[in-house]
């Protein structure tokens, strides 16, 4: 069957579809406000006139390409093309400012490729087994998964004060995520009568505001993104950093596992992978200042989600995330009902589709590696020209998500709030993490309490929950010890200084 699938994939129409799909995906992913979900959904009517396999391959290519494409503006302009690229922006943009944007892009595309290939391999080999594992996750586990993501807040702090501020920022994100419709009762909360807030504060405009607009406001005082332009001339010769393999591996596994869980997305996968990398890195101090290890973990994590999310989609008909849901729509339109038949009766087409994902990964790897030096030159554009263009695309991207003018104001307010919060020492990363994980945490917490008849023991009795608690503790204890040590050291330094001045 695999041989027949390969034959089907190597047909010229299929190869052209993979190429067009992947290139379009990279372009869509690279533009803030245009998501992979939107692109796949837009393609569904187009695939009507195509052969089912060609249509599917086209959508798969877009999915793979968009996941990678989001990292390009995130690294060069601190404007994440997709929400999943936020963690990449946190490390990639500082590298760009130091003149290493090309290297950051290289790390990003290689990590994306590895994550994508690994998850597709898993999809090909063990999809049915993983699908059964995904079904064992219930509301308590989803709540704990959100907590696992929020643990990352602790590792973003250096001392007691910044830890408290990071926690406040995370809680603010969780509070903002409460706005909208109550997931249990359906009652509206804190919407101020605005219909645009019924679904909550849109995540993408808030993200664009906090990362892109705040950064553009910040750049008004500089002439160029890169201060030392001589480093940009060395892009092609810059060696690939050593020791990234374990972070790529960590991200690929995390991304695939998170992708398999229905409802979990690439954003959470990227943040979790980033957090794991931060915990296990020997260069912890470089995180937030341009550490390629963070990019490697985050990018392999969000691309690992691609194959992972297709596991429950193809085997159980439960989409792993919103893009997989749109892709499933395309499958159903062509009469391909997810389930065992997809791997037997329609096996040739299904396996050809899975194999096309490998090809899509190779195509974006080629695009990324050859184009990285040219993409990196964006940072040479003078800011008086660059800032208004990025601001325009940021505002347009905020609007395009829901065709809402209110979303533009959300982006602007978040932009100015981000500048003030950043200047006063609050953590934007923690705030965003709270905003992303808020809805999962709330519905998981509330549903679990309903299932457990109000008893909190439901969070501690199930085996999956116990394993998640163990991982949470393992991730939580080392940074807390480190923070208390650093605080102790700082206190001792201050006392020593005051003693010296008294003498």
């Amino acid at each position: 069957m695999i041989f027949e699938s390969l034959q089907a994939l190597l047909a010229p129409s299929s190869l052209l579809a993979v190429f067009i799909g992947t290139v379009s995906g990279v372009l869509v992913g690279g533009m803030p406000g245009l998501t992979a979900t939107m692109a796949v959904a837009l393609l569904i009517p187009v695939t009507f006139v195509l052969e089912p396999l060609t249509g599917l391959i086209l959508m798969g290519g877009v999915y793979c390409g968009a996941m990678y494409g989001g990292s390009i503006p995130a690294i060069l302009l601190r404007t994440p093309g997709t929400p999943a690229a936020v963690a990449t922006a946190m490390e990639g943009y500082p590298m760009s400012r130091q003149g290493h944007g090309g290297l950051a892009l290289k790390v990003s595309v290689i990590a994306s490729f590895c994550g994508g290939v690994f998850s597709t391999f898993v999809l090909l080999m063990v999809a049915p087994i993983l699908a059964i594992f995904a079904l064992t996750f219930g509301p308590p586990e989803y709540f704990l998964l959100a907590i696992l993501g929020l643990v990352g807040i602790v590792s973003m702090a250096d001392d007691e004060s910044s830890l408290v501020k990071a926690l406040i920022s995370g809680l603010l994100g969780l509070v903002i995520a409460v706005i909208g419709t109550d997931p249990i009762s359906g009652q509206l909360r804190y919407t101020l009568g605005l219909t645009d807030l019924y679904d909550g504060v849109s995540f993408m405009p808030a993200l664009i505001g906090m990362f892109s607009i705040s950064q553009m406001l910040d750049l008004t005082s500089t002439k160029r993104i890169v201060t030392d332009t001589s480093t940009l001339q060395k892009i092609k010769r810059e060696p690939f950093p050593k020791g990234l393999k374990k972070f790529v591996g960590l991200g690929s596994i995390t991304g695939t596992v998170v992708g398999v869980l229905p409802g979990e997305g690439a954003t959470i996968a990227a943040f979790l992978s980033y957090n794991f990398a931060r915990q296990y890195s020997k260069k912890k101090h470089l995180f937030g200042h341009g550490n390629p290890e963070g990019i490697a973990a985050a990018e392999s994590g969000n691309n690992g989600c691609v194959g992972g999310s297709l596991v429950p989609t193809l085997t159980l008909g439960i989409p792993g995330n919103s893009v997989a849901a749109a892709l499933m729509g395309g499958l159903i339109i062509h009469g391909l009902i997810p389930g065992p038949e997809l791997f037997s009766k329609y096996g040739v087409m299904t396996y050809a589709f899975i194999l096309s994902l490998f090809l899509a990964n190779i195509i974006f790897l080629f695009i990324g590696l050859t184009m990285a030096p040219y993409f990196a030159r964006i940072s040479l554009i003078p800011t008086p020209i660059l800032i208004p263009v990025v601001c325009l695309f940021s505002l347009l991207g905020s609007y395009a998500m829901n065709n809402s003018i209110l979303d533009i104001f959300v982006a602007l307010i978040c932009g100015i709030a981000a500048v003030i919060l950043h200047r006063t020492g609050f953590s934007l990363g923690a705030l965003i993490l709270g905003l992303i994980l808020g809805p999962i945490a709330e519905s998981g917490f509330a549903q679990a309490l309903i299932i457990g008849h109000g008893s909190y023991s439901i969070f501690f009795t199930r085996p999956q929950a116990i394993i998640l608690w163990a991982i949470i503790l393992v991730l939580l204890i080392p940074p807390i010890i480190q923070i208390s040590r650093q605080s102790g050291r700082k206190k001792a330094d201050v006392e020593r200084q005051s003693d010296t001045s008294a003498e």
């Binding site: 603010l172 009652q187 909360r189 804190y190 008004t220 020492g425 709330e442």
Partner: protein
């Protein structure tokens, strides 16, 4: 304004918000008092507590960092001009439509930020608008805001 004073204003604001959030949960329906209302109460209590802890830390090291000024930007004219221009853009977007307001916003913002080469300003503005028309409007069918004034 000093950085510490700005922090205190923010913390007091968050504390008031946490208090108001806690009180608001009393109005949640009875059926969610043990689920989502508990979650929101949990968030508000912790937000309030952490704000108080941060204020306590501030009191402990008050003497040391009092003098640090809050420096929002080192180029205030460009910073505030860009922000005001973006707000004006957002307000007028519905009235003038995407293309007209963008055709005004781009060159004005570029000039305000220091661009002096008329050709590069005109070519970039025109190029961006053509790109948006071709990719967003024609290829992807994204409905851009239309003018309601005319």
């Amino acid at each position: 304004m000093t950085r510490r004073f700005a922090e205190i204003i923010l913390l007091v604001g968050f504390l008031i918000a946490a208090f108001a959030l806690y009180l608001s949960t009393a109005e949640y329906p009875k059926m969610v008092q043990g689920s989502t209302a508990t979650y929101v109460r949990f968030l508000s209590v912790w937000l309030g507590l952490l704000c108080l802890i941060e204020m306590g830390l501030w009191l402990r090291k008050r003497g040391r960092e009092e003098g640090k000024k809050l420096n929002v930007t080192s180029a205030p004219f460009r910073f505030w001009s860009l922000l005001i221009l973006m707000f004006i853009y957002s307000i007028l977007l519905e009235y003038l439509g995407f293309y007209i307001i963008s055709a005004l916003f781009l060159p004005v913002a570029m000039m305000v930020l220091g661009a002096r080469n008329i050709w590069s300003v005109a070519l970039t503005s025109g190029g961006v608008l053509i790109f948006v028309y071709l990719v967003f409007a024609k290829l992807l069918g994204v409905p851009l805001p239309q003018a309601t004034l005319f």
